[in-house]
Each structure stands twice: as structure tokens, then as C-alpha cells.
Symmetry: D2
Subunit: 154 residues, 4 copies
């Protein structure tokens, strides 16, 4: 059944993300993407994520990091969506080729909060290049930052 | 003497950077900027900075983080350069107002290496906005990534 | 009445745009922005806008131009929105200070069409800096390109 | 002889640029690139390029246009550099595939001048994606604007 195949593919991506990527793990990102069309992640602030303790705000580098990860994850979902033989080996091979070409981040408001949500969706899903837009929200649903990234997927 | 005043100003910035900024400290960045014209920082790779352990490469988020810090530090140096009364309080007040508006990062080569250098210099140093270009090199002097950032300094 | 004041303010901006900006006129842009919250413009393709005559597509430079104008216009609308004394002289003074700091453009699909719509809206409307996101659609409502721009408004 | 082959390849690109690209022609760009390593173009200001006649400055859209063209031309030079059979048909086929993925432009100073130079060089020249940095100078050798663009070349 197509739906289960999809679930398996996402499972391989999530397992790889959690087990094999040290900096993703350091960011504490939890993947909650429900389908192949968009990425959705959450994380809690940690002491070492703070830019300036006077404000308790997320450092800009943490913000750009989680936005890049959300865009790359959206590109991975798209890359494996139409894979012909969705076995673990093929999926891993596919997502290993996804790389960020470039990213832009706009810092809109101070990253104040305990809990954050990161969302990504593709504007372009070509065979070679994907373009994603990403958003970071805090626990009051304020838009903290946005990003746009180009990803090599071929 | 002007030269000593300058050294004092940089000292205040460096002390603030090292003592008060948790995520900068987590990145392990050491400031070596020799003057007000450009920023220069170094850091060593840590296990948790790795994107994919198969390659041992720096995660893209670490790369964008250090580039942003190098650009912001160059903007801080410029902001305090012509401060009229360069006492600690005035310098701290000035650098507290420096904020990243936006940044672009281009990932050129895999971030392979044990030791890295980050450089920043201003292309525009206005009274309200500074624009910086940043570069990341590995210990074989390969250009790993470049960035351009706009910073609010007023 | 507030509504009429608003209309007058937009009228001054539109008149300035049409009468005084040669390249905006060369682009053939017609302002249709209904309020202070977002910009909306339309234009028709001209022979000299074409990138490659084999495809008849809009040149990338035309695309980045109209996106920048739509973002700058949104920043102007925001800048004059809360002006205390909305007379022509004050409005002109305000919008003369609006300048693009930087812009990013993502080219998503070939710019094929006879008629195009450009939309802009602000993500951040500070007293010094505004950040806008812009979109270009063709006459089949396909999203041709998107942009993000930072504008100095103070 | 290698040198002549190179000249032929550049000649095909320049001929195509001048004969077949309407918006490039409208910009009045003259290609003076001396080799495959970097692009170099010049143009004169025209009345319709002006943003605001009070200042006589280049419109931001003209600036982003010439920077994009200089980056794309550098990507074309790189794309044809190692072409195995450098006949006109193969070269045309190669450069027809070069497309801008995205571009960032930083506006540093008002574009005042009669005559301008645009330079581009590649930071990354992969088989699929090229990354270029571009600069715009006026006739007093002031740096007016810089850009960074990613180009699909495969």
C-alpha cells in the first residue's frame, strides 16, 4: 500500500537524522513532518543556545542552523518521494546526496521562548535543485526568523 | 595615546565575547582580530559539530554560525572605532545594539579539517547599517564557505 | 477622515512613482496597491524584456527589478503609514529615504507570459529597517520567482 | 592551438550574447572578458536606467541585472572551458543550459557615474552548480554593489 511505503521512507530519514547526525542531535531537533510535502520540527532552548544571557534570546547561529536543517529535510522528503525502489539502501543513498548550496536568513524578532517550531516547504522541486522556504516560530506563535535555501538533490 | 585606546576597546569587546555569550563559547571561537578593520577568529572541530560522521565534515549550521559571528564582530569593531568616550560602559552599550539583519551563506566545499579560520571585513560601514563579507578556511587553506551579512549598528 | 488621508498618502507615492522614476516607467509597472499593508503591481512583457527569444522568457534582470520595486514600494507604504503630518512634502521626504540594503531573488520557473503580477508584503516593519517578501506570478498564476529584501527606511 | 580554440569559444558566447539576448542589449553591456577565469563587462548609463533623477543614480534593478549577467557569463565561460568538441553547436547547447538559481545583491553606495564596470569570478565551478561573486564599479573606481549568485550549469 502506497501510504505504508511512504511511512517507511520517512522512517528511514528520521532514523538517519536522529542516529547519525551529531549536530542535529546537539540542536535537539525532533522531526514531526507528517508527509512528503513539508518539514516540521520542534526543539527546546538549552543554556548554550543563548546569544546574550541578558535577553535569553536564541543565538543567530542556532536560528540559521535549524532553518537550514528544516529546508534540507524538506529537500530530502522530496528527493525520496518518487524513488522507484524505496528500500533503506536506496533512500540512504538519495538523502546522502542532498546538500545545501546556499541559504539566506532574515532575523525578524528576538528569539525569546522555551519551545520553538521550525517549518519548511519547497517552492521548487526539480531533479537537480530544490528551493525551500523556512520559518521559525516561538511558543507564542511569533515569527522569529525566515529563511530561503537552495539545495542540490541530484 | 590613540593606539592604547584602541586596544582597550578591542579588549572590552573580546572580554564580552568570551565571558557573556554562551553560544559563541560553545563554538569555541577565539578572537584574534588585530585591528578595527577586519575580524579574525579560529576554532577547532568538536564531535558535536559534525554533520555526517561518514565524512567528518562541519555541519552547515556550524558554518553559518561562525560566519555570522565573524561578520557581527567586524560590525562591532567598526561601531566602536569612532566612539567619542571609549569607556567600558559606552562600548558595551554600542555593541549591544549590533544585530544581524540578514545573512547569506554559500557552501563551497565540504568542511573537512581539525582547525578553521574565519575572517570578516566590512564592505559598507554606515551609521545605521554595516555590510560584511566573511570567509571560512580549513587548515589546508581551502575556502570552505563564504557569507555576506547586513548588520544594524545604530 | 483617516481613510481619505490614507488615500492621499498613497496618491503621492503613486504619482511620484509614475512621474519621477525613469526605470520604473521603463518597466511599465502599474501600481494597484489597495492599502498600506501590501504592494501590488502589474506589467506587460515588452520585446526588450526578453532573456532568450527562443523561449520568450523574461530576463532574470527584469524579474529581480520588479521584485525589488515591489518590496521597496511596500516599505514606502509602511514608512508613510504613521506619518504625523501627511502632507505631500513630508511624504516625499519620507519615501526619498527608503533604500534597498540587499535583496535575494530565487528564480523558480521560466518567466513565460504576456502579463505579470508582482506582490510584496512586510515581514518586519521597524523604525529603521523593513524586511519584505515578494512574489512574481504570470497570467496563468504560476509562481515565477520570489524575493526577500531588506530596506533602510529611517 | 589551445589559445585559438579558447578564443573561438569566447567568440561564440559573445556573439550569442550580443545578437540574441534583447535585455542584455537593452542594458548596453559590452563583454571584455579576457579569458575563461573571470567575466568583465562595461556599460554607459542611459536616461531610462535612472532610479531617481534628483540624484541621477542607477536604479537598483539595473544594478541587480548587470550583476546577474556578469555572474551568468562567468558561469558560461566555465561551462564551455573544458568542452571536448568546441564547435558552435556544442557551445550554444552548453550555454543554453546555464540558468540563475538565485542571486543576492548588496547595494553599498549610490550608483553615480557615466560609465560602469562589472566583474565576476567563480568561487565554485562544479559539474552541476557554479557559484559566482560579482562587483560593480563606477568610473571613479568606487565599489557600488556586490552580488553572489548560484547558477545551474548541468
Amino acid at each position: 500500500m502506497n501510504k505504508d511505503i511512504n511511512k517507511n521512507e520517512i522512517r528511514v530519514i528520521v532514523d538517519d537524522f536522529n542516529a547519525n547526525r551529531p549536530f542535529n542531535r546537539a540542536l535537539g531537533l525532533v522531526i514531526k513532518s507528517p508527509d512528503f510535502e513539508s518539514s516540521f520540527m520542534t526543539f527546546h532552548i538549552k543554556d548554550e543556545f543563548v546569544g546574550n544571557p541578558i535577553y535569553g534570546n536564541l543565538h543567530g547561529g542556532v536560528i540559521s542552523s535549524v532553518l537550514d536543517v528544516a529546508g534540507g529535510h524538506a529537500a530530502c522528503l522530496s528527493a525520496v518521494k518518487n524513488i522507484k525502489e524505496p528500500i533503506r539502501e536506496k533512500i540512504m543513498e538519495k538523502i546522502a546526496k542532498v546538500n545545501t548550496i546556499d541559504i539566506r536568513v532574515d532575523y525578524l524578532r528576538p528569539g525569546i521562548g522555551n519551545f520553538f517550531e521550525v517549518k519548511g516547504r519547497l517552492l521548487r522541486a526539480g531533479s537537480k535543485v530544490a528551493v525551500a522556504r523556512m520559518e521559525l516560530f516561538n511558543d507564542e506563535n511569533s515569527l522569529i526568523a525566515v529563511g530561503t535555501g537552495s539545495y542540490l538533490i541530484g
